[in-house]
Amino acid sequence: MPQFPRICILGGGSAGWMTAAALATKFPNAGGEITLIESEQIGTVGVGEATLPHIRFFNQALGIDEPTFMKTTKATFKLGIEFCDWGKRGDRYIHPFGDYGFPVDELDFHQAWLKLHQAGKAHRIDDYSFPILAAQEDRFKIPEGDVNEVGSNFGYAYQFDSSLYAKFLRSFSEARGVKRVEGRVVDIGLGATTGHVETLSLEDGSKVEADLFVDCSGFRGVLIEQTLETGYEDWSEWLPCNRAVAIPCESKGELSPYTRATARTAGWQWRIPLQHRTGNGHVYCSEFISDDEAIAQLLDNLEGAQLADPNQLYFKTGRRKKFWNRNVVSIGLSAGFLEPLESTSIHLIQEGITTLIELFPSAGIEALDVDEYNRRMGLNFERVRDFLLLHYIATQRDDSEMWRHFRALKLPDSLDERLQAWLSRGHIPAYEFGVFLPPSWLAVMLGQNLMPTDYDPRLDRYEMDELHQRLETIRTQTADAVRATPTQAEFLAQYGAASRSPRAKAAS
């Protein structure tokens, strides 16, 4: 094989250190050839504090011990996301990590539920979901045993301090030979004939040369955009939110094993409970609200005392026209930005890394690798975009300019057809490649009051009483399993994952 390419990662936030850790683990013989440049003068955005269950596979592939990781990053477990005020004001539902109930023979559970619901014989669908009920009672356990049994058919993710995660992965990566260089890039040298990035010059006069650059420099896209001028596909038409303000606060009460996203008049607010504090933010569209109002709205809705000054972020939703251009691969915010409504920021980083590893250049940069990388990541971004858009258009709200904007929006055909299939018969077209599978679509559509007018006619082969009995068994077993589950705080302590630091307090 030809010599292993020299890799330079620019930027040391979650994207940078996740990339470094994964490459150093997957290519252990390349130690010393991976350099990460970061500057302590440049802050990291750290938007993605909440994750999706796939992060566990990422950590497992790195051989990371879960309790240690959780203790270090002050992480909590996450069973889903609670959405408040989305369908209409006063609504709340949880999008859980896992299926509702169990199939009735070969038929989807939700179809049986729809039939019973139409006959007025079903409980709310949440009552057939272990992760929802457990989340509502702040309980948690790790799913073990047969996935076909109640109490085991769910997944989980984490809510963590992403700057601590980056720090954790930094030690991990450096122990595996990744070289960290402190400094700001002041000049970028391009190859005269290839147009490839060849050298990054730092303030202190030192230079880093590499064959492959991973741009993890955040929104600025120092290499992919400022240098290579790759271009950006603007998705503001679909997802117009363009600003966010983040403020941590003291946490109150039990540790919730779920993230909360509350719809506001010009955007939405996140709440991410960590072990020592609660992360909060307001994502909004500047066309519909001023920055000051947005901050005021957020401050009015904090559960505890403010722990830091507001951190203001500016962005444009969309994606880089090419995620991989010449010898630069953009991962993280430099690749594109989709608001973190479904905790996809870190997931898209992970997808970028996994895809890069699968298409890792063996003999120089080859067009076929670049092309396939861009195809795969494009599909990932697009499918996440459509799922995010669903939250805004599956609504009865029209109480502000933003909600009226969405009411008037012409949907992409693929999403429109999806909605019609759901509304007429509870059908959810399946795809294989994409992070959100049918149970996620189901959770949001039902949660936001899109009730199908009919159900799969195959359910009519069952007597109503038989179906009722089957679902009742699932419901009572689910409730029993939840009762036997410890609270998250108890579980963290017994699992050895509880942080030793006390909960943060605001300066008095």
């Binding site: 094989m1 997957k26 063996s362 690798d369 195809r375 018969r425 059908h427 077209p429 195959r458």
Partner: protein, 477 residues
């Protein structure tokens, strides 16, 4: 009669019609009346469904009462570990076997280690080796046994299965009318009434055209069949004193190809060639390869050969037929307006056809084909972006490009590429995580396990005979 009962009419009593009628009858409740019309004879074109199924057929067949004990006891069905391509284009021979996901030594896909070490794939495939040795046993559930990696389908006779299904239909709620359709009345793209040859008239909510390649009902409601060529097929059978191997064989000939499937007591042959001058003098039938642009038009759904005809070089025709029926079951209309169901059905149908075509095109695509009408016409004429990507990426670096919900899986594709002689120019660097010595040893140990277990597995015929004995004893208490 149930109040507001809807009527579903299945036209055709061959394999497709019988599978569909029974599957519908088992799936739907009393609010649907199911009527099946047609002469009780299996059309000769049913032999173009081929003689093999893929492992994915197992649960589907069970759901229509074709469970394994019944198939073995009541028909000459035998097991299939895949298809043995012999003397294929450019002289390639390989076993296109059914296999569970390949081992991934040190996290890298198996074929990257093979590329790295310059080794062959087939000696590491237990289903290939067992089939080639003429042996068979059920894969055990114990993952410690190398045989657990094998998967299997069946070798079967479509006519026989149609008869078995017909027996089940006789005792099912399906109303069978033993005559064909003489007239079809349509209005605004929907079939409003079917006049039968016996003079009766049926009004139908939904019509299933399972009447083979004549496609009358679907055409009348607007479907267009796209075909690029017509081939001639001739089926034959010979009795065999002993059951042959647990794999079908397919061999290229100068004028086309010949397949032989080995059932319990006979061998079924299919000879496919270009259409020749005087058809009247030839045995067999001509059949147009191609597909309806949309299989669901108005209130009529074409399934099986009525929708699409692909060459039975692989289990593809049975895969498509199964998917047609499963797609239909999942989208039985809830009301008179079927727009949502029709659109979703046709979307899935087009994807399935396109993905099946990728596999079949790869199989017949070659620069080294016999100089004959059949083989010249079999070559793709237009570039297909999805196919080019699959071939280019595998050749470039052994990357398996997949699209949503393809019928053929990664293992099928890897075996096909390897069998046709396509080798990656480079392997994935993740394979280097294991030293060359360790990788060599790991693969050698898989090969040795297969070599050790294969002679201990009984011959296919003996296994079937003993299993049948056991099943008979069980059946008689």
């Amino acid at each position: 009669m149930v109040a507001s009962q809807k009527t579903l009419v299945v036209i055709g009593r061959g394999l497709a019609g019988n599978l569909a009628a029974l599957a519908l009858s088992n799936s739907l409740g009393p609010s649907w009346r199911i009527v099946q019309v047609g002469q009780p004879s299996t059309p000769p074109e049913d032999s173009f469904y081929g003689n093999v199924t893929a492992p994915t057929a197992y649960n589907f067949l069970r759901s229509v009462g074709l469970d394994e004990p019944r198939l073995l006891r009541r028909s000459s069905t035998a097991f299939s570990l895949g298809t043995h391509f012999k003397n294929w284009l450019g002289g390639a021979s390989w076993m296109q076997c059914h296999h569970s996901p390949f081992a991934t030594p040190a996290g890298a896909p198996l074929h990257h280690q093979l590329t790295r070490l310059g080794l062959d794939l087939e000696p590491l495939l237990v289903s290939a080796q067992v089939a080639l040795a003429g042996r068979f046993a059920h894969p055990p559930s114990d993952p410690g046994s190398v045989l657990s990696r094998a998967e299997y389908g069946y070798q079967f006779d479509p006519m026989e299965w149609a008869c078995l299904l017909d027996q089940s239909l006789q005792s099912s709620p399906v109303e069978i009318v033993e005559c064909g359709v003489s007239e079809v009345e349509t209005q605004a793209g929907n079939i409003t009434a079917l006049t039968l040859e016996n003079g009766d008239t049926l009004t139908a909510t939904l019509v299933i055209d399972a009447n083979g390649p004549s496609r009358r009902e679907s055409l009348c409601s607007g479907g267009a069949f796209t075909t690029k060529r017509t081939v001639h097929a001739q089926a034959n059978q010979t009795s065999t004193p002993q059951t042959g191997p647990a794999c079908q064989s397919v061999e290229a000939s100068a004028q086309g190809w010949v397949s032989t499937a080995f059932l319990q007591d006979r061998a079924l042959g299919l000879n496919v060639s270009a259409v020749r001058g005087n058809n009247a003098e030839q045995q067999g039938f001509n059949i147009a390869l191609g597909q309806l642009d949309a299989a669901w038009n108005g209130n009529c759904v074409a399934i099986g050969h009525a929708a699409a005809v692909v060459e039975p070089l692989t289990p593809a025709p049975m895969m498509l037929l199964q998917r047609d029926i499963e797609r239909l079951l999942g989208l039985i209309p809830t009301g008179v307006n079927m727009e949502v169901e029709r659109r979703e059905y046709n979307r899935q149908y087009r994807d399935d056809i396109a993905h099946i075509s990728l596999f079949l095109t790869t199989l017949v695509k070659s620069d080294d084909v016999p100089d004959s009408v059949y083989w010249r016409d079999a070559q793709p004429t237009e570039p297909d972006e999805k196919l080019q990507r699959k071939l280019a990426q595998f050749e470039h670096r052994g990357l398996l490009v997949s699209y949503d919900l393809e019928p053929f899986n990664d293992e099928d594709w890897t075996i096909l590429h390897w069998g046709k002689g396509l080798r990656p120019r480079q392997y994935d660097r993740t394979a280097d995580a294991m030293s060359q010595v360790d990788a060599t040893q790991t693969l050698a140990s898989i090969r040795q396990s297969i070599e050790q277990i294969t002679p201990r597995i009984p011959p296919h015929g003996l296994y079937v005979a003993k299993l049948k004995d056991y099943l008979e004893r069980q059946a008689h208490g």
